[in-house]
Symmetry: C2
Subunit: 196 residues, 2 copies
DNA sequence: GTATAACCGGACATGCTGTCCACTTGTTGA
DNA sequence: TCAACAAGTGGACAGCATGTCCGGTTATAC
């Protein structure tokens, strides 16, 4: 979780009251996002729920999307860590198609529990401009390169497209949708990477 | 292009001034959408450009998205007509993978010339709730059923996901992106439907 | 030619955004 | 310990978009 806004080099430590407010904001935002559709969440909602003024909120987060992204960050980082260390199904010894499936599984799980946050983090900007998307994309691309697939950059975008939050919610709203999506993606991974 | 709003049974004919205004609105909207990002287009912009009052605009179109959809409608209808009549690559005698590719080609072409409108028609609601999406989905699903693919409903959503307008724009912004996307989708169609 | 209904456009109330500014509080250094 | 300074805070404000309402206007039917 990012501690301070932009100053990359460590400036003076964060003040105690600011840290306290950050937590208040994050906790309050969690509840707000749980209580109504993400596109209806306003900065005012979050500020009021946290018991702080609007300017205090804007000081750290420029938009509702930024708040959602901050909430999402720790969950996404956990997956990124697993990828880097090769834990779970991400071991480099496994074939690319299985590692792609491992990513699919992890992202489905993330969407299942935090779809509202993902949707919220995409308000007003494209999914592709978020930092997390870049990580997933880089990983998928490396798998495709390893398998010798052409146009890996584009194919990586195509293979990640079915994990858009709005599509996930649409499919999940159907009976057995969640399970069928998992099975379908597993077949897709095998289809594209193993040619079967 | 839908002539009147809701009254499905033909009521009294549309008044001449109303018809004139509809054309003014549609023409003006085309230019407005061409002049700025679709998510920045307001009802006020369109009304002013058309030289009509806001209420006049609201009378027929409840939102900016509805205006964009009206503009898009004739282009989408053209594709739907080709599907129904089996023109172009949609002949039922061709294998499903080739017909899926024909749909991909048609939709890529549509996005290429009207991406802003597609994006505009998705403002404030999911792509999946638009009428056009339902048509593409039904067609893809029938192709999958014909090929004996399981969970055809879900797979159809997955296969249409790469044609989301925002993904298209993202990929097209890269060098050769448009061409690579076409090739990639062609391979995807073959991969999934022909198992190669 | 008149009655009627559809149509029109400006005005209005509401809600959200992002910024500004005067006040408060924590932190640093003498 | 305490003063001085910087960071943090919250309410208020202006700007903008939305969606509706209503008095006036114009086309169509009789």
């Amino acid at each position: 979780m990012p501690r301070r806004p932009l100053p990359l080099a460590e400036g003076p430590a964060e003040r105690a009251d600011a840290a306290r407010n950050r937590q208040k904001v994050l906790n309050a935002a969690r509840e707000v996002f749980a209580s109504k559709p993400p596109d209806q969440v306003t900065m005012d909602d979050i500020a009021r729920a946290a018991g702080v003024g609007r300017a205090t909120l804007y000081r750290r987060y420029p938009s509702v999307a930024a708040v959602a992204e901050a909430l999402l960050d720790e969950h996404e980082s956990a997956i990124q860590h697993r990828i880097l260390t090769g834990e779970g199904g991400f071991s480099p010894t496994r074939p690319p198609s299985e590692r792609l499936w491992a990513l699919y599984e992890a992202l489905l799980e993330l969407l299942d529990t935090h779809a509202a946050l993902v949707l919220g983090s995409e308000i007003g900007r494209a999914r592709y401009s978020t930092g997390a998307y870049g990580v997933w994309h880089t990983y998928v691309r490396s798998l495709l390169d390893e398998a010798g697939i052409e146009h890996s950059r584009t194919m990586a975008d195509v293979l990640l497209a079915p994990l858009a939050a709005d599509l996930f919610l649409h499919v999940r709203s159907r009976r057995n949708g969640r399970r069928q999506l998992a099975e379908t993606l597993r077949r897709l991974a095998a289809s594209v990477l193993d040619g079967r």
